[in-house]
Structure formats: C-alpha cells, structure tokens
C-alpha cells in the first residue's frame, strides 16, 4: 500500500535519474498477510551510475535505516527503475535480493507511461503482489 505522495516521489526520482537507473529504499510497516504500508520514500544514490545496474549508495542506506528506526518504522523494500525493460525483476535482481521479507518495486520506462509493479523474492522464487494506491 502506497500513498499518492510517496508514489509520485518514487516515480519522479526515477524520472530524474534517466537515462540511468535510479534507486531508493522504502520505509514503512509490515501488515498482516505479508503486505506493507509505505510511510517514507528514501531516494538514494546509485553508485553503479549505470543504465543497466543499480547499487544503493551504502551511506544513504544507513541514513534511511536510522531515520526509519527513529520514526518507529523499518525498511520494508527497495525500488529501482528499468529504463528500457519491463517492471519485472531481472535474474540479477533475483539473485542479489537481500531480504526475503522486503518488497521489490520496479519502475519501468519501457513505454512513455511509467509502469510500477511490486514483487516478493524468496529463495529465487518470484511472486508479483498488487500495488494498492492509498488516496
């Protein structure tokens, strides 16, 4: 579940990053049933500086983690953009997914209109989950 302000913040950050991939992490709370409510978007640097790779800038990640904890929330996921491909995790995304409890959000600019999809990745198994927009 993501509020419109946070969705806009995430998509705008990814647009700003073009032609490179952009990335960031999501603060929030876990909900029953395995979903999560996003309470903060933390845009981070992409140390890979690439149109094909992303790597969350480690110190940005540390700052986001501390802010989330201070807010009584936690990091619940990561987002990144795909500049020319679908909003689906790539084999690299799947292999390197750091936490099975996280939500992996992809923002695709393959078409002019951005596409936002969310995935769970556990032990190499990928499952899409709905992105629910909170008004």
């Amino acid at each position: 579940m993501i509020g419109k302000k946070f969705l806009a913040q995430m998509v705008c950050h990814c647009l700003d990053g073009l032609p490179l991939e952009a990335c960031g992490v999501l603060g929030g709370v876990a909900l029953e049933g395995g979903s999560a409510e996003v309470r903060a978007v933390y845009p981070t640097g992409n140390t890979a500086s690439s149109a094909r790779l992303y790597e969350v800038e480690p110190r940005d990640l540390l700052r986001a983690d501390r802010d989330a904890e201070a807010s009584g929330t936690q990091l619940v996921g990561v987002y990144h953009s795909h500049t020319h491909t679908d909003a689906k995790p790539s084999p690299t995304d799947i292999r390197q997914a750091p936490d099975p409890d996280w939500h992996y959000v992809l923002v695709s600019f393959r078409d002019v209109e951005p596409s936002v999809r969310s995935w769970r990745i556990r032990d190499g198994a990928v499952e899409e989950e709905p992105v629910v927009l909170e008004w």
């Binding site: 480690p58 983690d65 790539s90 750091p98």
Partner: protein, 93 residues
Amino acid sequence: MSVAVRLPAILRPAAGGESTVEAEGATVGEVFEDLIRRHPALKDQLLTGDGDLHRHLNVFLNDDDIRYLGKLDAKVGDDDTLTLMPAVAGGVR
C-alpha cells in the same frame, strides 16, 4: 573493548533474534571473531571462506564505511557502534 553491533533483520535469526548484540575486540576483525564465537551461524554471512569481508555486506563504524577505514583492521573503541547492512543491488542482466 565492547561495542554494539546492529544487525539487519535478515541476520537476526542467526543471532537469537536480537537486533543489537554486544561483542568484544580492538578491531572490526576481532569483533567479528567474537561475534562468530557467540553466534556461529553468522560466520558465512559476514566473511568469505578466505576470511575477507563478504562483498554483499556493508559495515559501518558509527557513520563511516569500514572499507575506507582499513576494513577488518579498522580500530574500534568503547561506545562505538558497528552497523551491518546488506548491499542492495541489481541490474537488467
């Protein structure tokens, strides 16, 4: 020296579910040795088979990435905090 080690959620099951644990040592490497002695399940998460820092792990001594402080040789003191975080990365390939 006793330092606090903050663990990301993914590593907590290997440390009895704790989010912060204490460990002793004068360097990050010594703290890791003590940490692994107390929580052996952490070993493969922290270090490679050669005893180097795992490349998918970020380690911060207070606010600083230990890669710029001498890695496992970085000196630690009382009241320091080590924060472990997974590297978060991916790509189209």
